[in-house]
Amino acid sequence: MIILFYLSSGLFLGWSLGANDAANIFGTAVGSRMVRFKKAAVIASIFVIIGAVVQGAGASETLGKLGNISTLAAAFTVALSAALSVYWMTRMKLPVSTSQAIVGAIIGWNFYTNNPTDIGTLTKIVTTWISGPLLGGVFAILLFMLVKRVQKKVSLHLLYRDAIIRYGLLLVGGFGAYSLGANNIANVMGVFTGSIDLPVIDLGFATFNSTEQLFFIGGVAIAIGIITYSKRVMETVGNTLMPLTPEAAIVVVLAQSLVLFIFSSQTLSNAFQSIGLPPIPLVPVSSSQVVIGAILGIGLYKGGKEIKFNILGSISLGWLATPIVAGLVSFFLLFFVNNVFKKDVGANENSPVQEIVMKIDSIAESAIQDDTISLVEETPDFQAERQNELSEDDKESVDVPMIVFGSLALLLLLLSIFMTIKVRKIRQKQDSELQKLENKYLFKQKELEDTLAEQKVRQSDLDKELKFRQNEMVTMAMNIIQKNEFLSSLKNEIVEIKSSVKDPEARQAFNRLSLMISQNLSIDRDREKFQMHINEQNSNFLRLLSEKYPSITENEKRLTVLLRLNLSSKEIASILNISPKSVEMNRYRLRKKLKVSPKINLSDFIREI
């Protein structure tokens, strides 16, 4: 049970790793709805545990070389320091990585306990921090080129391509989760391997040693982080860096998985050595930073226009700030655990901190002795008794302020955590309310935009309809004009023929014919139809005209409508079967009635009513 308590800080670290880093593997797939979250979470959880148990030892060993933490209290404190640093830096929106935090915390332990930091191992680790993202970028470029070439050569149906990408995302995601477990389990459980020794479990077909059992527990913690919290991270920050196409997402995840795999595979390292190459350093690498490297690689391949170079700055800041912060937190927490709770954190006797503590103790002891000298003058029995009492009281008086101070500090720490959580909750609530409002306004805006677009389309349709109707009317009018002209010329022709004919019967027949034409000219069905048509089409205009000019007559209204169609006096004359001169006269009267100045064109004035 006590072991579980000490492991809690590592488990918390594992949970946060699962919650955050699963987005690097399945973020785009889930965010773009190519893969359902449930499926992604199950695959990631299974493979992260397998990776941790099967291949987690290599990177963990390197961390052990950096600082072999031998006591449970120290391991607990180091893991807690890393977790708190990650938590605090994330709250401060600073770039942070669990891998760098744990290294910083171990170095903090080295400083506190006066254990030497292996510079060779440290150099190896720091080199990997830089080479990890670089390698991620190189892999991403090569893979992206390969994918593009394959896409060009193979012409697949879009739906088959979509299905292949889906399966590809799952497959690569599984490999990514495996590599994440293999490489990053050292961050979660690496510090505990030296201080916890669990009995070997023999299942018959396989045995699990203490480290493997610890890695299994850490893997489960990561899996719980994935299942319980990563969905939110995937949906919110999954695509913030750069929206990726599903093909690019496969490339990025595969590049990241390869880098993490390479830096955790003992077999690969041995294979390198066997062919005379230097061994691969097995070091926990930040998956987020490798992902950034991979995305930048794709950006560079595409021409570098979309690259935000300030990301590089933030990675560098993460490399520096995270270990320093974690180291400081670790140093102070170790001091606290060591001196307040009197827990062994593996400190050497000759460590500078221990020396300072011992000096404080000796000053306190000498002060006690000074006090006792003055009491020696009293009776020897009393002196001896008194001295014993005093020495005990004063020893306590050295510890009491320490405990009070420690408790206060612990209270303050708890209060600050409580306050941070409270503030975070309030901020989350405010954010969600703000988001809701924003969504509401966006929705309204979208609705308005849609309505506006619809109105525009409707307006343009109406304009087209209007133009079409006007053209129709003009065509109709022109038809009437042509017909009337034809009838007029026919009538004139008949009159001319009639004058040359002397037969009375024939003359009478011509007269009848002429009369028929005249009647047709004055009672024209087409004209009637046209009149009805224009009245119907211009009903609004005619109503407006009557309202504005109540004294306007029906004939004047008809003339106004024809003028609105931009017809000439001759054309109007033909339509109304009156002479052009009469039209001119009617126009003049209308101008007077409408009180239009002689400088203004009557047709323009009418169109503007």
Binding site: D162, T475, N479
Partner: protein
């Protein structure tokens, strides 16, 4: 492997069937109009029945495809574009059916001298649509090649416009023996037939943008 792609295979088949159905619908429309213009009443009635069936079938297939896309969130980044495209394809068969029914309901009178012009307009307008369908098929297989196919759609659409304009001019300027109402009626039928190529052009515009988007 075939088990993995079973759903996809079925969906691909449905999409192909949908495009084939609409294509057949357009061909039936063409034959139907020609039947009407040649006064082949029995054949025309058959075409009406056939286009009715094809349109209903296309609707059924479209609904099935929509459901599949949404249920399995297939091509999530292009789903709205693809659904719009399917709508536009469906519109072509809808319009074809409606137009053929206009002939049946309104029984327009086509004078002998203009029949050939209407047949030419029908052929050209339908040709525009018939060239849009291979572009849709190509979009799903080789999006980069879509643009090359679409040039024919744009060509036939312009040609249909020109023929339609000529018909209208002929109706209103040369055929004095027709009543104005008849001229206007016939003009509407030129418009109806022309709409097929207009719809094909809208589909082509959409396809060319989608092909660009998918290749980004």
């Amino acid at each position: 492997m075939s088990l993995l792609f079973k759903n996809v295979k079925e969906l691909v088949r449905d999409i192909d069937e949908f495009i084939n159905t609409v294509e057949q619908g357009v061909l039936v429309f063409k034959e139907g109009v020609i039947n009407y213009l040649n006064d082949e009443k029995t054949s025309f009635a058959e075409k009406l029945e056939r286009i009715n069936y094809l349109e209903a079938n296309a609707d059924k297939l479209q609904r099935k495809i929509d459901d599949e896309f949404l249920m399995h969130s297939i091509l999530p980044q292009n789903i709205s574009d693809i659904e719009n495209m399917l709508d536009k394809i469906d519109e072509i068969i809808d319009i074809s059916k409606d137009n053929l029914y206009q002939f049946e309901v309104e029984i327009p009178y086509f004078p002998e001298e203009i029949v050939q012009d209407y047949i030419r307009l029908t052929n050209t307008s339908v040709e525009a649509a018939l060239h849009a369908f291979p572009a849709v098929r190509t979009f799903f297989r080789e999006p980069l090649k879509v643009k090359d196919i679409l040039t024919k759609v744009f060509f036939y659409e312009k040609e249909a416009d020109r023929i339609s304009r000529n018909i209208k001019r002929k109706l209103f300027h040369e055929m004095d023996e027709l009543q104005l109402s008849q001229k206007i009626h016939l003009r509407y039928f030129a418009l109806h037939i022309e709409t097929i190529s207009d719809k094909a052009e809208t589909l082509a515009d959409m396809l060319s943008i989608m092909a660009l988007k998918i290749n980004l």
